[in-house]
């Protein structure tokens, strides 16, 4: 059975809610996490098939989260899409080992295309 759970992490509540709605409208089970350091616990709890995470967040940046995930065997291969409005976002995401990078503001159709690639 395909794991259609997508975990979304962004400190911006507006983007977080919007993404959840968009993903749900495409039939995904979207879970929102606004606090980046909680990501590791939440991932253990909900076992997402894919993670979408913002880059610049207080307490822990998105690329730092990705780096930590890549160190653990159980999340080493977990697909992670990094989203950011930052110019150097792509470099930071690539360096941390993210699967893909999408710049903000994004086209949701592009985002869904990417998400569907991982479930194809």
């Amino acid at each position: 059975m395909i794991n259609k759970t997508v975990l979304v992490c962004d400190d911006d509540q507006g983007i977080l809610e919007m993404l959840v709605l968009v993903l749900e409208s495409y039939g995904y089970q979207a879970i929102a996490e606004s606090n980046s350091p909680n990501m590791f616990d939440t991932i253990e709890k909900v076992h997402p098939g894919l993670v979408i995470i913002d880059l610049w967040m207080p307490e822990m940046t998105g690329d730092e989260v990705v780096k930590q995930l890549r160190k653990k065997p159980e999340t080493h291969d977990l697909p992670v899409i990094v989203i950011s409005a930052s110019m150097d976002g792509k470099q930071m995401a690539d360096k941390a080992g993210a699967t893909h990078f999408i710049s903000k503001p994004f086209d949701i159709f592009n985002l869904i295309d990417k998400v569907e690639e991982y479930y194809a």
Partner: protein
């Protein structure tokens, strides 16, 4: 001169008469003028003159005999030498003087006169012998020399005064400028310092002059960057301009300074002195940093709600029925303007970065034609009014900043669409031209007048005619130009008003 015949003075070996004639001939053969005056007669008349005296004075013998010597002085009586003569005559002593005398024709000649008394057996002066040499040439040479010496001295005084003035002038400049200045000797000891330096770095002149730069203020000037500048860079790159040094001073805190260093290469006293000027740019840097941070944060923060709005609009687009033209149109327009807004934010951030020389290129090898194709698709997706047609190809894997170059193509395409509202096509032509790849974007719209063509790449420039119809900030092309320049390429426009425009850029392969 005593003549004593009894001593048997006879040199001809014959008669005294022969001796006398020979002596007379000898005296006439002399180039020195010789006269004898009679001291016993009133006014001491000349009783004898030789040929040379006639020649020097220009007078004949019959005009000379019987006169006092002073007749040669004419009206030029007030001569220092006269008093010496008078004194010698009075005391019956010898004297040598230089007199200004005048020939019969009135010409001045300098007469070096040697005067000696002739005394009788009782020691009383009976005559004076005068031997005269015309020293006019020597005197003139001496006078010329003196004149030249005087002139030289005058010039030296003048020059010294002018040097002193210059020195004061320079010193006043040194003290007045609002920049710190140091003059160092070749061994890096401080020779002079201006007030601005003392004030900025809170030191006194006594603590500074004669001290080696690195030892100033307990060694707080022992700055590695400064050492590198003075010891490594300057000797082979004189002068060094705008060298940035950033240093945390123990008492006055962090300073960012721009340094100019100039090693003086003149021969002479100032040889190998080093001029150092410091511009304190700490505050300017901090202000710039604050501005950068602000723009960076602001544009980041602006993008968050923009992302949310765009997401909801696209969600609406997906959820609403497709058969309502008005809804479709409204959503498409909203999308267009959201894209526009995002462009403005991007440009604002880029301008701030470019202005500070901070545009960073992340170079990687990519398929150039594919990049242009994707940029065109991207723009085509947002604008349905025009068809973007790509012809030609570069067939290049180009090493550059893909994201930035895509930004340029997108910008040129959106401009082309924006400024040709009546047209329906945009032509993109890709080619390779002797070592360059070339992209040309042509629209069939308003065109750009010749005057404006030079200015379109300037920051915040907006063509007047355009500003009314298409409001904007006028930074898009400036950013494009800077990106292309950073790739060592060229961006330009060919256009005629009302006939459309072609924006092209080339990049070296």
């Amino acid at each position: 001169m005593d003549i004593d015949n009894s001593s048997g003075f006879n040199f001809s070996g014959e008669s005294y008469e022969l001796d006398f004639n020979l002596l007379k001939l000898a005296i006439d053969a002399s180039v020195a003028g010789i006269i004898i005056t009679d001291y016993r007669q009133p006014d001491h008349p000349i009783i004898y003159s030789n040929k040379a005296f006639e020649k020097i004075s220009g007078y004949k013998r019959n005009e000379i005999i019987g006169r006092n010597c002073r007749f040669l002085q004419g009206d030029d009586r007030e001569q220092q030498a006269r008093y010496i003569l008078k004194e010698a005559i009075k005391n019956g002593e010898t004297a040598t003087v230089e007199l200004r005398n005048y020939r019969k024709n009135g010409d001045l000649f300098w007469n070096e006169l040697y005067l000696s008394p002739v005394k009788d057996a009782n020691g009383n002066v009976t005559h004076f012998m005068g031997v005269q040499n015309d020293i006019t040439k020597r005197k003139n040479a001496e006078q010329q020399l003196q004149k030249e010496r005087d002139e030289m001295e005058r010039r030296v005084i003048e020059r010294t005064r002018s040097l002193k003035e210059n020195e004061e002038y320079l010193a006043s400049i040194l003290q007045t400028v609002r920049e710190s200045l140091l003059v160092l000797a070749h061994d890096l000891r401080v020779l002079s310092v201006n007030r601005h330096f003392l004030r900025t770095f809170k030191v006194s002149e006594a603590e500074t002059i004669g001290i080696k730069l690195y030892d100033l203020g307990n060694g707080q000037w022992n700055i590695p960057q400064l050492k590198e500048l003075l010891e490594t860079i300057l000797p082979s790159n004189n002068p060094v301009l705008d060298f940035e040094v950033s240093y945390e001073f123990p008492h006055i805190g962090k300073k960012i300074m721009l340094l100019n260093a100039h090693q003086i290469e003149l021969d002479g006293e100032y040889k190998q002195h080093i001029l150092l000027s410091f511009e304190d740019i700490t505050e300017r840097k901090e202000a710039n940093q604050r501005k950068d941070d602000f723009i960076s944060i602001a544009s980041h923060e602006l993008r968050s709600p923009l992302t949310t709005v765009k997401g909801y609009i696209q969600l609406l687009e997906r959820l609403l029925p497709k058969d309502n033209d008005k809804v479709t149109h409204a959503i498409a327009k909203t999308n267009d303007y959201l894209n526009r807004m995002n462009e403005l934010i991007t440009n604002l951030l880029d301008t701030s970065k470019i202005q500070n020389g901070k545009i960073e290129l992340h170079k990687e090898v990519f398929d150039f034609d594919q990049m242009v194709k994707e940029a065109a698709e991207n723009v085509q997706g947002s604008y349905s009014s025009h068809r973007i047609k790509i012809t030609g190809s570069t067939k290049m894997d180009y090493a550059g900043d893909q994201h930035r170059l895509e930004q340029v193509v997108v910008n040129l395409l959106t401009n082309a669409i924006k400024y040709s509202p009546e047209a329906s096509e945009i032509a993109v032509y890709l080619s390779r031209v002797s070592g360059f790849i070339k992209v040309a974007v042509t629209d069939y719209g308003l065109g750009i007048g010749r005057e404006d063509q030079k200015k379109v790449f300037e920051r915040f420039f907006r063509a007047n005619s355009i500003q009314k119809k298409f409001p904007g900030m006028g930074i898009g092309l400036y950013v494009c130009d800077q990106i292309i320049k950073n790739h060592k390429g060229t961006l330009w426009v060919d256009s005629e008003a009302e006939k459309g425009a072609t924006f092209s850029f080339t990049l070296p392969i």
